[in-house]
Every structure is written in C-alpha cells, then in structure tokens.
C-alpha cells in the first residue's frame, strides 16, 4: 500500500503536469486566435476517423458514415447535450440533440420525459410513478441523416440538401424559414432557430468530421453510448456492430426514410 507522502507526491506531479498542459493549451489557443483558421494545423490533434485527412476534394469520397447509439450503455448524464450546446450555441428551448428517459412500470405503462432535453442530466429518480417500476433506460436522439430524407424532399428552395457523402445539411444563406422541413421530419429533430431565423438541426458535426474528428457528442460520451464511423472501413466499430448479430434497429422504419442513425438494443416502446 502506498503511504500518504508518496500519494501526495504523485498528486503534485500530476498537478504540475496538468498545469503545464493547461499553459500549453492556452498558448496554443491564443496562437489559434491570431493565426487564420484556414492555416490551422491539426497535426497535433490525432485523427479520430481513419483516412479523413487524406480527403482533399469538396466531397468526402469512398466513405459511408453511420451513427450508432447504444441504448444499453447510455447513463443519461447529459454530457452529449452540453457538448452540443457549447459547439453550436443553440438557443434555449431548441434541441439539436436530446436524451429521453423511459420508465416502464409493472402495469406496462410507459413514462417518458426529457426535461430541458436532458441537458442537466438525470440526477434525481422520478418519484411520481404510481406503480412499481419494472424497467428504465435512456434514449439519446439526434438527426437520423436519412438516406431518403423528407426534409430535403419538401424544401422549396433547396436550402436543405444531401451531400454526396450522405450528410443532410442546411444552407443558412438560402433557407427562407417556411418551416415545411420542420413539419416533414418524422423525428422532430428540426426547429427554426430564433437567432438566424432559418431551419436548424444536428449535422453530425460535419465541420469536425471533415477534419477527421468525431462529432462533439461522440467525443464526450463517457460510456461510448454514441458511436460514429465509416461503414466502408470494415475495421470500424460501427461496421462491426451493424454486421455482427446485434439487436439493431432504426426509429420509425415504416416512414421509409432509411435512417443512417441506428440504435443498439432499441425497445419497442421507443418512438
């Protein structure tokens, strides 16, 4: 067993290392402020999506991205929602991603809630359920990046479009904010951003993916409930999940939208 002095030394050494790292980060960060963004060097940041830094064209080629949410892992901490809100400064009351809490009682009643979109995490259990609780789980929600997206179909000006690499994105300079896409999305992931007065939604962090980085929510998830990767890379985790015998499903399959967002352990109660 380590005595107290040794432990203290260890902590001090960690602390010094930590302060050094913070200082380095601050200096690097300050430099980033003065160096134009285009010249940003990601050499120091490890590539999280293999092969992405080799992509030079306007569109990603030879990749087919998928997002996998593992319901059996999610603990409802809300880190993903916080990361998302920080990444995009989403105005309050609108949600690019959110986490739902499902509770099923022994009368098979299903109780779902998502206070503040799960942004504050689920720190307290629900005490208002009238019957004994049989089961409970969390379901993170985000853009389904449909292969046949109804939002793209209905957009009258082509502001919502699908990239060749399968991302569904919004051109903020074209959107007229008619709201048709909001009505057409079966998953309610869209909203009209009150700041920009245009349609807005989760992009799977396209700007990060283009630089070989994982979406912000995937990056912060402490239990790896959110996974992102290239299905053409047979070594990727998402490929293995979708091609090995797992219980994998998508939301509202009868809508015919063919989501690229898959759920591991999806329950029939989830809509």
């Amino acid at each position: 067993m380590m005595d107290m002095d040794a432990l203290q030394q260890e902590i001090n050494r960690d602390r010094r290392a930590f302060i050094k790292k913070v200082l380095r980060g601050t200096i690097a960060g300050s430099l980033l402020l003065v160096i134009p963004a285009g010249a940003m060097d990601l050499a120091g940041v490890p590539e999280q999506i293999p092969g992405m830094r080799d992509e030079t064209g306007p569109f990603i080629t030879g990749k087919k991205f998928a997002f996998v949410v593992d319901i059996t892992r999610c603990i409802g901490c809300g880190s993903c929602c916080v990361a998302d809100r920080n990444e995009y400064q989403v105005p309050e009351g609108n949600y690019r991603t959110w986490v739902e809490r499902y509770i099923i009682d022994d009368h098979d009643n299903v109780y779902v809630d998502s206070p503040n979109g799960g942004l504050d995490g689920y720190q307290e259990p629900r005490t208002d359920i009238p019957y004994p609780v049989r089961d409970t789980f969390f379901v993170p929600k985000l853009c389904n990046m449909c292969e046949k997206p109804s939002c793209v179909q209905v957009c009258p000006v082509g502001a919502t479009f699908q990239t060749e690499d399968g991302f569904v994105l919004i051109d903020q300079k074209r959107c007229v904010a008619c709201g048709y896409c909001v009505q057409a999305c079966p998953y309610s992931v869209r909203f009209i951003n009150p700041k920009t007065k245009t349609a807005d939604k989760c992009t799977w962090c396209y700007h990060r993916v283009r630089k070989g980085l994982l979406p912000a929510c995937v990056n912060v998830c402490p239990v790896q409930a959110r996974k992102f990767g290239d299905l053409n890379d047979h070594e990727s985790e998402v490929y293995k999940i979708l091609h090995l015998p797992h219980v994998v499903s998508v939301l509202k399959p009868d809508m015919g939208n063919k989501p690229s967002l898959h759920y591991v352990g999806l329950r029939r109660e989830v809509v």
């Binding site: 949600y95 009368h107 009643n109 929600k141 209905v154 009258p156 082509g158 048709y180 057409a184």
Partner: protein, 401 residues
C-alpha cells in the same frame, strides 16, 4: 393508492412530447393562407358556372365574383410573407425551386392562375372599360387605356373574338382554380410524418371546402353590398347560389366525415393519436364548433332554403346567415387541420397547445388586418371595374359577359 387513482395518474403521466414539438411553427398565418386561396378558387367557380356552364341565373354576380376572386388573390401571399423567417428570399422559390418540393410549385400555380384571372377580367370588361375610358379623364383615362390594352375596337367581329377568348380563359380557369386549391390541400396531404394531414383525400376536402367558402362569400357579400348601396337583390340568383352552396356543402361535409370514418375504421396506430387529438384539445373547435354548430345547422338551413318555397326576405336573411356560418365552418376546418395537425407531437404520446396572441407578429390583429385587406382592395377595384351589370345597363352600355 386506489387502482382507479393509480390508473388516472399513470394516464396523465404517460404523455410526452418531443422537445422541439412544443412550439407550433405554422401559425394563424398558415390557417389564413388556405382560407384565402380557397375563397379565390370558390369565387372563380361561381363565375364559371355562368361563363362556362351557362347557369343563366348567376349572370348578376358573374362579373362580381371574378373581381371578388381577384381581391382575395391579391392578398393570398400576405400571410405567407408575414410567416417566412426570411421574406426577402421568398422569390427564390420561383428562381431556384427545388423540383421535389410540394411547396415550390405554389409560386408558379398562383402566378399562372393570377394571369388567367386577370386576363379573363380584362376581356370580359373590355367593352365596359372602353366606354368608361371615353368618359374618364386624367389618370383614370390612362389607367383604362392600359386596362383595355389600347384597343377601342368594339366591332361585332372584335367582340366575337373576345367571346372566344373569354370562353377559352374560363375553360382553362376551372382546372387551374381546382389545381390551385387542390394543390394547397396536397401541401398538407403530402406530409407523411403528420397522421392528420397525410391522406389522399386532403386535396379533395380542401377543394370542396374552397368551393363552399367561395360561394358563401359571394352570397354574403353580394347581399350586404346590395343592401348597403340600396340596390335590389336578384332573388333568382341568390336562390340558385344557395342551391349550389347546399350541393357543394353536402359533398364537402360528407367527405370530411368519410375521411374521419375511414381513419377510425382502419384504426391503424395513427388513429390512436388522432382520436386523442379530436377528443382532446380539438374537441371544442372540431366536434362542437366545426361539426356541431357550423356544419350541421347550416346543412339543414340550406336544405330548408333550397327545398321549401319561402318568401324573398326569408331567403335573403337566412341565406346570408347560413353563408356566414359556412364561412366560419371553413375557417374552423382550416384551423383544425393546420393547427390541429401540429398539436400532435411526433412522439405519438401527447399534444402541445397553441393560443395566438393578439399583438404578436403572426397573431390575431395581423390576421384581422390581412382579412380586411381583400375587402379594401375589393372597394378600390369596384371604383375601376363596375361590379354590377345593371349599373352599366343604366349607363346604356353594351355588355359582354
């Protein structure tokens, strides 16, 4: 906890709506939009009953209904522009349309229909406008010169050509008016994510209710304008209109109920959501107001007015009341479809609420202003285009339409 109490608590607690579904995006403005375009299409149908189908009794209102349609057509885009987050980009829908969008066609259909309507008015009114031009001076003379397209030729040969053009325009006007409003129904009917909207019957119901609202609008405004200007009401015309109103309303109401009945009978998982909506937040505005008061009562009133031989004053008064009720019914129908459809969360577990404010951008006061605008435009148009043929007859002019 008693079992009943437990069940009640559980029932109340199992409701959940998606966080982005709390806000109703299509406001009162989008209720008014199909309402106004419906009145446009319906009024045009009234005119066509005379011009194409030669229902002689409707001659006194055949011109008026076109001007009435134009006045409302001029305001059809107002609620849309007020609704858009970026109205300055509205024309992009026509400049860079997305071909797959059900909405992208609106600009084209609306403009094409507007051109046909305007051309028909100009041709029908041409002899009148030529005569008015002779009498007018200054600005009005210039205006009439433009409106007559610079042609003063009233020879029998020219008028015969005009008649051919009018018949052609009225002929293509009918499918275009039907397209305009059937298409507005399709904008809603094509949204598969919304179980209240997604039905192939939606364009049919929208079209029939459009006919109904147009005819009712014509009856009510005709009686009121004639009354306030101290002119007699052509009773044969009103009786014929009431019969058409009743006929179209039978179809409209039956289809509305059939649509609901089909949903209930098929009882897919959507019906569960629809039932909660119609017997929940929409109970008052749908069952009590739209169906109970403003459909069933005018339905019997119109039947009574159509089938029983009544005194002129009775027909005039109760016909106007029934028309007013029908106008309210169609507005309620638009509300229940547009707002009602959005109240259901796509979580299929609950409904949100919507109460428009009086003074908000898309609230009640702007809606009232937008609904008054067509009447102001109608007044201005009536200064340019005499609404009634009798006015012209008094002035000793030749009439075409």
């Amino acid at each position: 906890m008693s079992p009943e109490h437990g069940a009640a608590v559980a029932e109340a607690l199992t409701r959940y709506i998606f966080p982005n579904d709390l806000h109703v995006h299509w406001s009162l403005m989008i209720v008014l939009y199909p309402y106004i375009t419906g009145i446009v299409a319906g009024a045009f149908i009234v005119s066509s009953l005379y011009h194409v189908f030669h229902i002689r009794a409707l001659k006194p209102i055949s011109r008026y209904s076109l001007i009435f349609a134009l006045a409302f057509l001029a305001c059809a885009t107002m609620p849309l522009l007020n609704h858009l987050g970026h109205p300055e980009r509205a024309l992009n829908m026509m400049l860079t349309p997305s071909p797959t969008s059900a909405m992208a066609g609106f600009g084209y259909i609306y403009s094409a229909y507007g051109i046909v309507l305007l051309m028909e008015i100009l041709f029908i009114y041409r002899p009148t406008l030529v005569a008015l031009k002779e009498k007018a001076g200054g600005f009005m003379r210039g205006l009439y010169t433009i409106l007559t397209m610079g042609s003063d030729n009233l020879s029998p040969r020219a008028l015969a050509l005009d008649r051919k053009v009018i018949a052609f325009l009225a002929g293509i006007g009918i499918p275009m008016a039907c397209t305009l409003h059937g298409y507005v129904g399709f904008i809603f009917g094509g949204v598969k994510a919304n179980p209240l909207w997604a039905t192939p019957l939606m364009p049919v119901i929208f079209l029939l209710s459009a006919c109904v609202s147009g005819i009712a609008g014509i009856i009510l405004s005709y009686v009121l304008i004639r009354k306030f200007t101290g002119k007699p009401v052509d009773m044969e015309c009103i009786r014929t209109c009431i019969k058409f109103l009743w006929g179209f309303f039978i179809l409209d109401f039956v289809f509305e109920m059939l649509e609901l009945f089909s949903h209930a009978y098929m009882a897919t998982h959507h019906w569960h959501t629809l039932r909660e909506l119609l017997w929940g937040p929409l109970f008052g505005s749908y069952w009590i107001a739209q169906v109970g008061i403003f459909s069933v009562i005018p339905f019997f009133m119109l039947g009574w007015l159509s089938l029983v031989r009544l005194r002129d004053t009775t027909v005039r008064f109760w016909g106007s009341v029934a028309s007013f009720m029908i106008l309210v019914q169609v507005l309620l129908m638009r509300w229940n479809v547009v707002i009602g459809g959005q109240l259901m969360s796509k979580s299929e577990r609950g409904a949100t609420y919507y109460h428009p404010g009086w003074f908000e951008k898309e609230g009640i006061i702007p809606s009232i202003i937008i609904m008054i605008m067509p009447l102001i435009i109608l007044y201005i148009l009536s200064r340019i285009f005499p609404l009634w043929q009798t006015d012209e007859a008094a002035a000793g002019e030749e009439t075409l339409g």
